[in-house]
């Protein structure tokens, strides 16, 4: 099945390049890590066969888009495509310069979750395959099965592809992972059931191991500020030193800065080398923005960005 999709993708891309409709393609290539792909940029028809589609197309390739000039095709899952449109909304990318190729996704396998559930590292696992909505993990000496909510990235569980109309081309059929938003919000609900003090303690603990590598910020397609607020020293909003206080402030402010542009793609959580559950923040922020302002980033390319728009009457119940 996937092989057909791959072939179709390659054929389509080859044609687009041949006809001069696009100059470059950003897509997924074979990774050197198990259960991973890697971003590749192709300008030559001869390289088209390097493109792959598999359950590990985790990267949000839109992060690389602003660096590439000319007409670019991007292989995108729905969350990534929404990020592209979010960039268009924020005038970082011109819509006419991007050709969005939609690919189906059953939910990105969260390797960290699989490792935790099996007690094995990724190189000790032989194979990971979807069997309908169960993930089969095989390793020396056996195999285990898990349900999608157990092993997919939290951000994938509330995947809502309906209503997205900006694909220029769709390979295969795009269907939601598990159209059950409740599932993806289980951990957020658990957070909300805690007292404020417990929640703060939780985040204090999580941010104690942050090493300020800024992978979360760098991998995020909508963190496109030329000068991040952390670089400001006069005044110093947040210290560059990795104290938990400054780590927490950095992330909290980053979340608030990307509010309305973030599409909860899950990349920041996946990228974090010390496993901080950033999806608990991005998911909640997406909900806050939707509940308060009936707004979802990256759905309508002509819609004004969240913070550039307003209604005469809104959110007054939160004002004193």
């Amino acid at each position: 099945m996937t092989e057909d999709l791959e072939q179709k993708l390659r054929d389509e891309v080859r044609t687009l390049l041949e006809k001069g409709k696009i100059e470059h393609v950003i897509g997924y290539g074979e990774g050197s890590l198990k259960f991973a792909t890697t971003p590749i940029m192709i300008s030559d028809q001869a390289d088209v066969d390097r493109l792959v589609i598999n359950p590990f197309i985790h990267n949000n390739l839109s992060v690389l888009l602003p660096e590439v000039s000319g007409k670019v095709a991007v292989v995108a899952k729905v969350c990534d495509a929404r990020s592209i449109i979010s960039l268009v909304q924020n005038k970082q990318v011109a819509r006419e310069n991007v050709f969005i190729i939609g690919v189906p996704c059953n939910g990105i396998v969260d390797v960290a979750k699989v490792e935790k559930l099996t007690g094995l590292d990724r190189d000790e696992i032989d194979a990971v395959t979807w069997k309908d909505d169960r993930l089969v993990v095989t390793f020396a000496g056996g195999s285990k099965e898990f349900s999608a909510p157990e092993v997919a990235l939290d951000s994938c569980l509330d995947c809502d592809c309906s209503g997205f109309k900006e694909f220029d081309l769709v390979i295969g059929e795009i269907t939601p992972v598990a159209a059950n938003k409740e599932l993806s919000r289980v951990r957020i609900k658990e957070m909300e059931a805690m007292t404020p003090a417990q929640r703060w303690e939780f985040w204090k603990n999580e941010f104690s191991r942050c090493i300020r590598c800024y992978a979360c910020r760098q991998i995020c397609p909508v963190c496109f500020c030329e000068r991040c607020f952390v670089e400001e020293t006069e005044p110093l909003w947040v210290s560059p030193l990795p104290r938990w206080q400054d780590n927490l402030i950095f992330q909290a402010v980053r979340m608030m800065h990307v509010a309305g542009r973030c599409t909860d793609c899950g990349e920041c959580q996946r990228a974090c080398p010390v496993n901080i559950p950033l999806g608990l923040l991005t998911g909640k922020m997406e909900d806050i923005v939707d509940e308060l302002f009936d707004y979802r980033a990256g759905m309508d390319k002509d819609a004004a960005p969240l913070m550039a728009a307003y209604e005469p009457e809104e959110a007054e119940d939160l004002m004193r």
Binding site: F229, V238, M256, M285, L292, A315, R320
Partner: protein, 137 residues
């Protein structure tokens, strides 16, 4: 009674709320001395990083005061404030900051008494909480 005196950082916009504060002062209205006012040209200037900075250096509460929606000197600045601060309040509450610690209100240049009222009310709210030890080790 064993209450503490909360330290409140108040961001006041130059055209409305700061003038309102001035009016309260010149009219000799009494209001709690707990606030430390930082004047900004527009409440829309207030970045979430200001709020977090204030809390991290020991402010027990942050108050953002701007013009009434529709009356902003820069026409739309306070609409941005409203969106941004609504998000800030809800998000910080989710992270574990008591909602009373971050408050937003509208106060025009002629509302000296309202300024005094809002400051009193916010001070009372914060007195019910304990001193801010969020960022203590």
């Amino acid at each position: 009674m064993d209450t503490f005196e909360p330290k409140i950082v108040a961001f006041c916009c130059n055209w409305c709320s700061y003038a309102g504060a001035d009016l309260a002062g010149t009219s000799r209205m009494q209001y709690p001395p707990n606030i430390r006012i930082i004047r900004v040209m527009c409440s829309g200037r207030v970045n979430p990083s200001f709020v977090l900075k204030a809390l991290s250096v020991g402010a027990d509460g942050v108050l953002v005061l701007g013009c009434h929606p529709g009356d902003c000197h820069y026409l739309t600045g306070n609409y941005r404030t409203r969106r941004r601060m609504a998000i800030t309040k809800k998000f910080l509450e989710y992270m574990g900051v008591e909602p009373e610690r971050v408050q937003v209100s509208w106060c025009s240049a002629s509302e000296g008494s309202r300024f005094a009222e809002v400051v009193s009310a916010v001070t009372d709210d914060l007195k019910q909480l304990s001193p801010n030890r969020l960022f203590n080790d």
